[in-house]
Amino acid sequence: MPYVPAVMEMENAIIRMMEDLERALQKPPSERRWGMVIDLTKCVACDACTVSCKAEKKTPPNVNYTVVIKEEVGTYPNVREVFLPRPCMQCEEPPCVDVCPVAATWQNEEGIVVIDYDVCIGCRYCITACPYGARTFDFGEFYGDGTPMIEPYETAPTFEYGEERVRSPEARHESPIGNVRKCNFCIERLHEGLLPACINDCIGRARYFGDLNDPDSLVSEMLRERYSFRLKEELGTKPKVFYLS
């Protein structure tokens, strides 16, 4: 048998996940259950995901939908570093939702916890209720504040939730400024058949995404084959972000 390098048989995970996505989009929304799988053995703490999300959503200073926690454990020379990326867990039982006084945030049919920027009054109660620190308040800052100019990338429209929105320093009272903001699993991209930005850009190929209800999706396959856990499982929030270790 001639030797075939294993890598030749490797599947292109992005293409596979895009196919999974297409399949999921054929189903009625309520039958989809979007989930993310993060393989901690492959996460290299590069923060490509963090930056990808910022670039995609043009989030301002202090607003980060996903972050990567890095922790040093042990003492020299027996030291390790562990990395834990943390987007919104899209909890199935989201404690952030019930506390909202104006029902500006809710779980949609597909299980994504969304925020209506035009309703949210910015009370920040939901931030205090989220056990994962996944919500942030938009204070209306711009990276260009204090520099000679605010650059066009900061004021370029974004399409979060499929709405063309402009964050502009001339309107520091316009949503999403003054709102609480968080990861929305890039719902606007999903609906176009595109994967979340952080999934595409992950250079360790540690982040995976797909329909947990579809047994043939890559994420379901990985969850079957590998040991997985969720954060603060004891709270009963039932996150839809799974970690492989």
Partner: protein, 1064 residues
């Protein structure tokens, strides 16, 4: 007004602001905001009943279409990954990876995938690459030409017209303080190519002794005034007194600039940054892989091999890794993580710091900085003692023998080396041992000496690995015997003491490394080589690969897939742009300012001065960056008149930069300094004239691919947006100011040969950067085959539509289809070029990368275990021979004296490293990445050391060293900046060391205020955080104005300085 309208207005407004350079407007615009707040409130009240239901809006996501996509190449770090830019209303809003490219996708999509499909596939990209948006739209970018209005470095500027700047540079100019500069026209002495050639030949003859100086002077009596020093004609013409110093210039621009400076202006002094980068790594590889060209000459050689991470079963990283720096995170990370997780690949990381790669490795070997050779030799010793090397491979003495064993490489392990006075000196030649007057070398076969021709493809020669004897009174040993003796110079315990790694770990790693046949690799980069012993250490590490004979094997070492030739150098290619197409080419000659690629002994200065030379000469290396300005300061070998600093910041990025800054700030040392930059940089702020450059995403380029990529890959950089810089007219053509435009304008003004109408030859004008780069694109589209059989397909009309629509936001000066087509000429070639432009380059199919057990693009050639070429040279200051073998050498100064290591006064060894979010010195404006994910850097120290010294986290400490006891940056005309950072005690660093990551500690680049046309532009304090330790690094105690340097590899020493950290 709808939201959308507001947006477009805002954009237009910012554009207007941009055109008037950077404007100092108060950002928080008072009452207007208040008014809009109230308006907003009522608008919203009226509209809130609009039902929100997740995403319903139709067409709610306009990106990811072929019409909003342009492919280009990143250069936030020098990995130069292929990228996909998404453009919205003319603004580059998002950068992702190019799915066609193996750098971004594993495996990449097929090259013929339709554009609209590919546009939907975003491929991976590292955080810096993505933050490129912010480097492009940096509020501190300069867009107009600046002339100093104060002293150099005082950071007072006036905006002047481009044409005025060109005029003053060519003809001389005066400054506000009354000082003046000479013009380039005074330096452009030799203008006649024939004269240049004649002078060169005769000057060389003088240097070699074939002509006397008097003969020369008589012959060239009319032209002596054109020489820098008529007594030393080998120094070359005065043209050489114009020096071009580039930082990380890339392919495409490199050749562009060389053509201009060396071939048209006639100066030999063209440099890039490599010795402050990794040069000793390159030189170690190159010398080890140097091919024998016959007649005692060596040449060629690969500068960089890398493990095939996708198939290796064990990899050792020496002073580098896969996830933070190296070449580079985007292409390498997934190969490695996939292998770790799915193939159980093992890793060992040799690094005094627990790098991100070490965090995932089975073994972290926190080596003592500078002692990597000891560790490599220890590993070698264990492997040799336990006979775990590939004896069959090593026995092959020539190409034919290698072929017999299905190997593409072979070694000189069996070749015999002369031993004189107990020391190995040179390879034994057949005629020395009575084997006849044939070219070649000698091996022992069971004690019998036979001739070997290294490149012989017919007659296999194998030899004894271990040979030790005497013939004709000449003592000899085989190269492998000598290597073995080097490894045996110390016991494992002694080696362990030197390198600080326990014997047990050395044994474990050596055993694992030799347990996977050829599917193992050792990668090294800056960590082990940016030392005075860098070259020898490099040899010692590369040798581990040679021991297992892994080159060319799947899972072993390879040079990567390489690239098609953009320069047109392959026969049949449409435009032979680099080697030909230069009417009136002037050429250049002489000793470079840095005395590189020259043997001191072969210069007339040697006859004058003998040993020691005034400064080091570098026969085996080039681009000795840190030497350029200090040499000019010493006027050795000659003073210079003008310096062009391009995309480099030697005062900041090189170690021990204080004297460099002092020199560049002094008009007596360098009478004219011009620079081009995208901001006012740490060193470019010392320029007399500062030109804005186009940024990476606005310009053209043909960067080459790193060996971590196994597919053949040609990347093509092209403008994605209308450059923010002003447009100027050169040769009657409107174009953005840039390095290219300045060169073209000077060429026009001075009449340099090979520019303007017919600049490339008949019917081929050279008036804009496009005239150059589009021809390169055409070469790539054509391919390397003479008959064009590997040309890319022709673009169809749909592809043309996309080409146009994706570039609809570009003005004619940037995208002009008719013009582009004319440049390329041939319709079919133009169509192929468009196909390539539409994909950002060309990429070999993934299926072609491996041929079973062998790499499809293997290294084919020799490994020199004994490096005869280097052994033949001398150290220019001690007069000692260099050594032919890997060995462990302590830290030395230029005079060859061993330097003191850590002491009570300076108890720590300083080193530095790159974070994933830092791209050299130019990502400090990346608010999403460097300033978000890091914000600042720290002085890292082991917790135990901190506890012992009673130092606390976040305490401010100063880094002081023997040559910078005050711990300061001395910034002429700008003040003094202490080398102070916040302390961070951690566990993941070797005790006794101190480290600071790179890319912080700025004093320019928007970090401090400057004045333009009398108006203060405020710096951004966020950009001034952290510390850059470079000024604390050792200044050579003999030369006094430059860092320590590896005399063979040329590397500047970054990791050899003993320091102390003092609370402030």
């Amino acid at each position: 007004m709808s939201i959308k309208d507001t947006a477009t207005d805002a954009l237009q407004e910012t554009k207007i602001t941009r055109r008037t350079f950077i404007k100092t407007t108060a950002v928080l615009g008072g009452s207007m905001v208040a008014a809009s707040a109230v308006d907003g409130a009522f608008q919203r009240m009226a509209g809130h009943e609009q039902v929100f239901s997740g995403v319903q809006a139709a067409g709610g996501y306009p990106l990811n279409t072929a019409e909003t996509t342009i492919y280009s190449v990143c250069l936030q770090c020098h990995t130069a990954c292929t990228i996909k830019g998404k453009i919205l209303d003319g603004v580059l809003v998002k950068i992702d990876g190019n799915p066609y490219s193996p750098m971004n996708m594993l495996p990449q999509i097929s090259y013929d995938t339709p554009l609209d499909k590919a546009a939907r596939i975003d491929a991976k990209l590292c955080p810096k690459g993505q933050a490129g948006v912010e480097s492009l739209y940096d509020p501190y970018r300069i867009t107009k030409v600046l002339k100093r209005a104060g002293k150099r470095g005082e950071n007072k500027w006036e905006v002047i017209p481009f044409d005025q700047a060109i005029n003053e540079i060519v003809n001389g100019g005066t400054f506000a303080d009354g000082s003046s500069t000479p013009g380039l026209k005074e330096i452009w002495a030799v203008q006649d190519p024939d004269l240049m050639k004649a002078l060169k030949e005769d000057a060389m003859a003088v240097a070699s002794g074939d002509m006397t100086l008097d003969e020369f002077k008589t012959k060239h009596a009319d032209h002596l005034d054109m020489l820098i020093d008529p007594d030393h004609p080998d120094l070359g013409p005065k043209n050489n007194q114009f020096v071009f110093q580039a930082g990380r210039i890339e392919h495409g621009r490199k050749e562009f600039a060389k053509r201009w400076l060396k071939d048209a202006f006639g100066s030999i002094n063209w440099y890039e940054h490599t010795t402050i980068c990794e040069q000793s790594h390159h030189i170690a590889f190159q010398q080890m892989t140097n091919a024998y060209k016959g007649n005692g000459k060596w040449g060629g050689g690969k500068t960089h091999l890398k493990p095939d991470f996708a198939n290796a079963e064990m990899v050792i990283f020496f002073g580098t890794g896969a996830f933070e720096a190296n070449f580079g995170p985007t292409p390498m990370s997934e190969l490695v993580t996939w292998s770790l997780t799915y193939r159980n690949m093992k890793m060992a990381v040799v690094d005094p710091r627990l790098s991100k790669t070490a965090a995932k490795a089975k073994w972290w070997l926190p080596v003592k900085p500078g002692a990597d050779a000891a560790l490599a030799l220890a590993l070698g010793r264990w492997i040799v003692e336990n006979e775990r090397y590939d004896a069959k491979y090593l026995a092959n003495a020539n190409k034919a023998a290698a072929a017999e064993d299905d190997e593409t490489s072979w070694t000189n392990a069996t070749w015999l080396v002369k031993i004189e006075d107990g020391k190995p000196t040179r390879l034994l030649r057949p005629n020395e041992v009575g084997l006849g007057d044939v070219d070649g070398f000698v091996v022992s076969q069971g004690g019998k000496l036979v001739v070997v021709d290294p490149n012989d493809e017919e007659n296999p020669v194998e030899g004894d690995l271990f040979a030790d004897g005497t013939v004709n009174g000449i003592q000899y040993k085989s190269a492998f015997q000598l290597y073995k003796e080097e490894t045996m110079a110390h016991s494992l315990e002694e080696w362990s003491d030197i390198c600080g790694i326990p014997v047990r770990k050395i044994e474990e790693v050596a055993r694992e490394f030799t347990s996977h046949g050829k599917r193992v690799g050792v990668d090294l980069y800056r960590g082990p080589v940016q030392h005075t012993n860098g070259y020898y250490t490099g040899l010692a590490i590369i040798m581990l690969n040679v021991l297992v004979g892994n080159a060319g094997w799947t899972g072993g070492m390879g040079p990567g897939g390489s690239h098609w030739h953009e320069d047109g150098s392959k026969s049949g290619q449409p435009f032979n742009i680099v080697k030909g197409m230069h009417p009136g080419k002037l050429g250049s000659f002489g000793v470079p300012l840095t005395r590189e690629k020259w043997h001191y002994e072969k210069s007339t200065l040697f006859k004058r001065d003998g040993y020691p030379a005034k400064r080091l000469w570098f026969p085996y290396t080039g681009n000795v960056y840190q030497e350029i300005i200090p040499s000019a300061a010493d006027g050795y070998p000659y003073p210079i008149k003008a310096l062009w600093l391009h995309k480099g910041t030697p005062g900041y990025a090189a170690p021990a930069g204080n004297p460099t800054l002092a020199a560049i700030a002094d008009p007596n040392v360098i009478p004219l300094v011009i620079a081009d930059d995208i901001v006012i940089g740490e060193t470019s702020m010392y320029a007399d004239y500062l030109f804005p450059d186009t940024a990476i995403w606005e310009r053209w380029g043909t960067p080459h691919t790193t060996p971590a990529v196994q597919s053949k890959t040609s990347k093509f950089r092209q403008p994605m947006i209308d450059p923010l810089v002003e447009k100027v007219t050169v040769f009657g053509e409107e174009q953005p100011v840039s390095m290219e435009a300045v060169m073209l304008a000077i060429a026009e003004k001075m009449g340099l040969p090979g520019y303007g109408v017919n600049g490339f030859g008949d019917g081929m004008d050279f008036k804009t950067r496009q005239d150059y780069f589009l021809r390169m694109a055409a070469n790539l589209a054509w391919g390397d085959k003479e008959d064009g059989s590997d040309a890319v397909p022709e673009a169809d009309d749909e592809e043309f539509r996309i080409l146009r629509e994706a570039r609809a936001h570009l003005p004619k000066a940037i995208f002009d289809e008719e013009r582009w087509k004319k440049i390329i000429g041939d319709e079919s070639l133009w169509r192929r070029t468009v196909y390539l432009l539409n994909r950002g380059g060309r990429f070999e199919d993934f299926s072609k990368v491996y041929k079973g057990e062998k790499l499809a693009h293997p290294y084919k050639g020799l490994f020199n275990i004994f490096v005869d070429n280097v052994a033949s040279g001398y150290h220019s200051m001690t007069g000692d021979h260099f050594y032919g073998l890997p060995f462990f050498e302590p830290i030395k100064d230029a005079g060859g004296s061993v330097l003191a290591e850590e002491s009570d006064q300076y108890p720590f060894r300083l080193f530095s490293f790159k974070h994933i979010y830092g791209g050299q010195s130019r990502t400090v404006g990346n608010y999403w990445a460097q300033l978000n994910v890091a914000k600042e850097n720290y002085v890292l120290i082991n917790q135990a050391d901190a506890d012992r010294l009673g130092l606390q986290e976040d305490q401010l400490v100063k880094i002081v060293s023997p040559t910078n006891p005050d711990g300061v940056w001395k910034l002429p005309n700008h003040g003094v900046m202490p080398i102070v950072g916040k302390l961070k005690p951690i566990q993941g660093i070797r005790p006794g060391t101190v480290a600071a990551s790179w890319s912080f500690g700025h004093w320019a680049y928007g970090a401090s205020d400057f004045i333009i046309n009398g108006e203060v532009v405020k710096g951004d304090p966020r950009r001034a955080t952290g510390v850059c330790p470079n000024a604390a690094m050792y200044e050579d105690p003999v030369l006094n104005n430059v860092s320590l340097t590896d005399p063979i590899g040329g590397s500047a020493s970054f990791f050899d300085t003993p320091v102390n950290v003092v609370p402030v």
